[in-house]
Symmetry: C2
Subunit: 493 residues, 2 copies
């Protein structure tokens, strides 16, 4: 048998031999029961090592193309019909199931972001659209040292799966921090999650099915709205005033829609910055209890208060098992850490732990241990005090700049805490249409349409993050924003 | 006004004063429009600082209980009816929505594990029930150093949110490792996830709705089955033989059930350890294409092969956009790291990236960067070679011990790779009932019922992890397992 071999090729010789014989079999040139030359013979024919031929024969044997009868020789087997795999031609449509995904994804994608990603930007943009604090103030060096000592102390335990509910000492620390904020719970009522977003996703998924109704403030956190849309829930909004969710409108909606959950951000609501009054908090819990509806409390920056007195969280008012509380250290310490937590009791707590397990098995044990090592009640409050001083100045700088540079008919309330100012443009203006001109001027913001169940309700609103930039940057950013506005004004004329 | 004050109490005086007045108002002792003493007067009455009284009045004002008329005095406001919050009495039933969770959670909980958690164990148990490698061989020190240098190099970037698809250099490394395994894809077709379990959860959730049918091997990975049950899918199993899923039975099921996905582990299938033949791989893809069904390929230890030749992954045979490939470094490097990945193309890839975003925003940037720094194609293959040498010896040790100590009528095939031996007990025996006696002897295994869509099909099977223990421990463990067995035999007599 003669086989053309390429001794310069990167493909090993045995592969070339096997490939040639394989082709011969599939093309019919080597028919069933044909006896192949012995490996010694073929090696001599081809001037290769006998091992090379044996390797080729082994490969063909593994593929079920030939067989060796001991003492007799090697033979071609009957050809098993191999399914001809269809090819995806360039430009051909995707399979139908892929096309179906496409139509569902569009519901919760963010066209504004997509537009900016593909456009050239200002050389030094000022970003007011972020959801987090100033990354320049993250405790990078301290955290590096903590990681080191945790790895030295815990060794392989830090790299294994941990406790189903999360690293126990971290749950104990969280319990202490919550107690210092007036929320008494227990370490075994706390479940560690991969950031608070995962907590929201797990709770919503466990308790609701596609098509179910969920009640939330309108506007509310866009990441929660995106989640609810992705889960194909029906979102019913309750308007927000200076005292938070208008709970007096809740009972009628409970009767009308039989919702499966109420999602709320009672403290420094995202995006409006308002706090729910105590009377409304109590009323909300009472109604939720009467109508058998779980309350999901998102306390993303509840303790980031610059003035006034702290109100009890809904969870602190919970008679037991009615409220699921979600929070995180991300906004305070470092967002990329992806460690959040929830507090709950009753069957839903164990249900969530099991549900988390099927979703991702566990949250990184190393990061939980590092966070536990880094956060104590004392260090947490010291960090909180410093942060409050820093962020209050920045809030004031932004309020100031808005008063100085913005048209007098913009609408805004000074927030008593949190990260954001919620700014209403004069009637008839569109924040969505301001995104791109602002980007060209070198400033970003988050358009209000992202925060409303009905996007159109957010037309003239924008959310401005005042904590991620210095007072000087804030002033410059507001000036740039103002420069972008006449262009939009003209669009509307 | 006289207010009993406790100067030894930990409660601040102003709180005690406010609390007393609040009680007075709610009990009716202080009626609407009653004028309260001036702060100067009350301070004198109580022998406290005037500021203390002012703080108490501020608190009551914030609560909407009193108001101050300038130049006139401080008055009690009409009492706003505060909702009386119901209490959860000890022993009272949970709210109905909580009870509903309880009944749903039971579907995918693991009674065997729950039983053992609450029972006292052997002082030095040998664990054959684990799903991972030998934690004593994790590269703890190397990884510690890598974390350090990444934190020094990247600083705050390592603690911020990262790219929607995951850290790009890590996707490039994964692309190279996959190419070295015969799977050609692209870095921008890879999505980093929080372990492969999250990838399975995201894909299944995006593509299926509760009640939809999913086809899988029977038996299959228990973590996937738990996930499918948690999502309330209808799971249809196809039996497995020595060549993997019996694909010849697939077309009939496709016609009968119109499934929305096929989930398969073609290499060293969990729990059976078998590999799907090349002919079946091709047939599977062709059928999935013809019937418009996505294929989810779980390649959890595809390259952990001790002998024989590697087969192309389904993804390598994919004509384009038909197969979603999921894998991880967890089994090789360290399970607690929680970094996995998927490879796909078409609309489903962007859909999954968006879907991951609403589920947890991002996977820890720090861990992605550390993994990228730790893994190169070269170091990966060096680690793989060492691991294969180690694990092959352990597999042989377990095969040997089973031949030596187990009854001759147990059923087993030697796996050519992976982590597990799938052992069939003699007919009529129950692995579930052996769990507790084995625990008392000081050995664990994973009972077969966990791996079957219909648990009863797994009655006499068990999965044994042979990689997590030394050969000596393996021999001792099998001896202990044998000791536990006669007790069970008696139960069946």
């Amino acid at each position: 048998m003669r086989i053309p071999l390429d001794f310069q090729s990167e493909q090993p010789l045995y592969r070339q031999i096997a490939g040639y014989i394989r082709q011969g079999i599939s093309a019919g040139g080597l028919a069933t029961d044909v006896r192949l030359p012995s490996s010694r013979q073929l090696a001599a024919d081809l001037h290769v090592n006998r091992i090379t031929v044996e390797n080729a024969y082994h490969e063909l044997e593994d593929d079920g193309l030939i067989y060796t009868r001991v003492g007799s020789g090697t033979y071609v087997l009957p050809l098993q019909p191999m399914a001809p795999i269809p090819r995806q031609e360039p430009g051909a449509p995707w399979p139908l199931w892929q096309q179906a995904v496409q139509s569902r994804t569009a519901v919760y994608s963010d066209p504004v972001r997509d537009e900016l990603i593909h456009s050239p930007g200002h050389p030094s943009p000022i970003l007011f659209n972020k959801g987090v604090g100033d990354i320049r103030h993250y405790p990078v060096d301290e955290f590096r040292k903590v990681l080191q000592s945790v790895m030295r102390r815990d060794g392989m335990d830090a790299l294994d799966y941990g406790d189903l509910y999360g690293y126990k000492p971290l749950r104990e620390t969280i319990n202490q921090v919550l107690a210092s904020q007036g929320l008494l719970t227990r370490p075994d009522h706390i479940l560690i999650t991969a950031g608070s977003q995962q907590a929201l996703a797990l709770i919503t998924r466990l308790l609701l099915m596609p098509g179910d109704v969920l009640i939330t403030e309108s506007p509310t956190y866009s990441g929660a709205l995106d989640l609810f849309r992705a889960l194909e829930l029906q979102v019913v909004g309750i308007p927000v005033d200076q005292n938070g969710m208008q709970v007096d409108k809740l009972e009628k909606l409970l009767q009308q829609y039989h919702p499966k959950m109420i999602y709320t951000i009672p403290n420094f609501q995202n995006p409006t910055g308002v706090c729910m009054s105590l009377a409304r908090r109590r009323e909300l819990i009472t109604l939720a209890d009467r109508y058998n509806v779980p309350v999901l409390e998102d306390d993303y920056v509840g303790d980031l208060r610059y003035e006034g007195r702290m109100l009890p969280s809904l969870k602190a008012l919970d008679p037991g098992g009615r409220v699921i509380y979600v929070s995180t250290f991300s906004k305070m310490v470092m967002p990329g850490l992806r460690v959040g937590f929830l507090a709950a009791e009753g069957p839903v707590l164990d249900g969530l732990a099991q549900y988390k397990h099927v979703n991702d098995l566990a949250t990184s044990s190393l990061l939980q241990r590092a966070l536990e090592s880094y956060v104590t009640v004392g260090s947490y409050h010291a960090h909180l005090r410093r942060t409050i001083l820093l962020y209050r100045k920045r809030r004031d700088a932004m309020l100031d700049a808005i008063h100085r540079y913005m048209p007098p008919d913009v609408q805004m309330d000074a927030p008593a805490g949190g990260l954001f100012i919620w700014l209403g443009l004069p009637k008839g203006w569109s924040a969505d249409r301001l995104v791109y001109p602002a980007w060209e001027q070198g400033v970003t913001f988050s358009p209000g349409s992202r925060y409303f169940p009905d996007r159109a309700d957010g037309e003239r609103w924008m959310r401005l993050n005042y904590v991620a930039n210095s007072p000087e940057e804030i002033e410059e950013g507001i000036i740039r924003l103002r420069k972008a506005m006449p262009q939009m004004g003209k669009q509307n004329d």
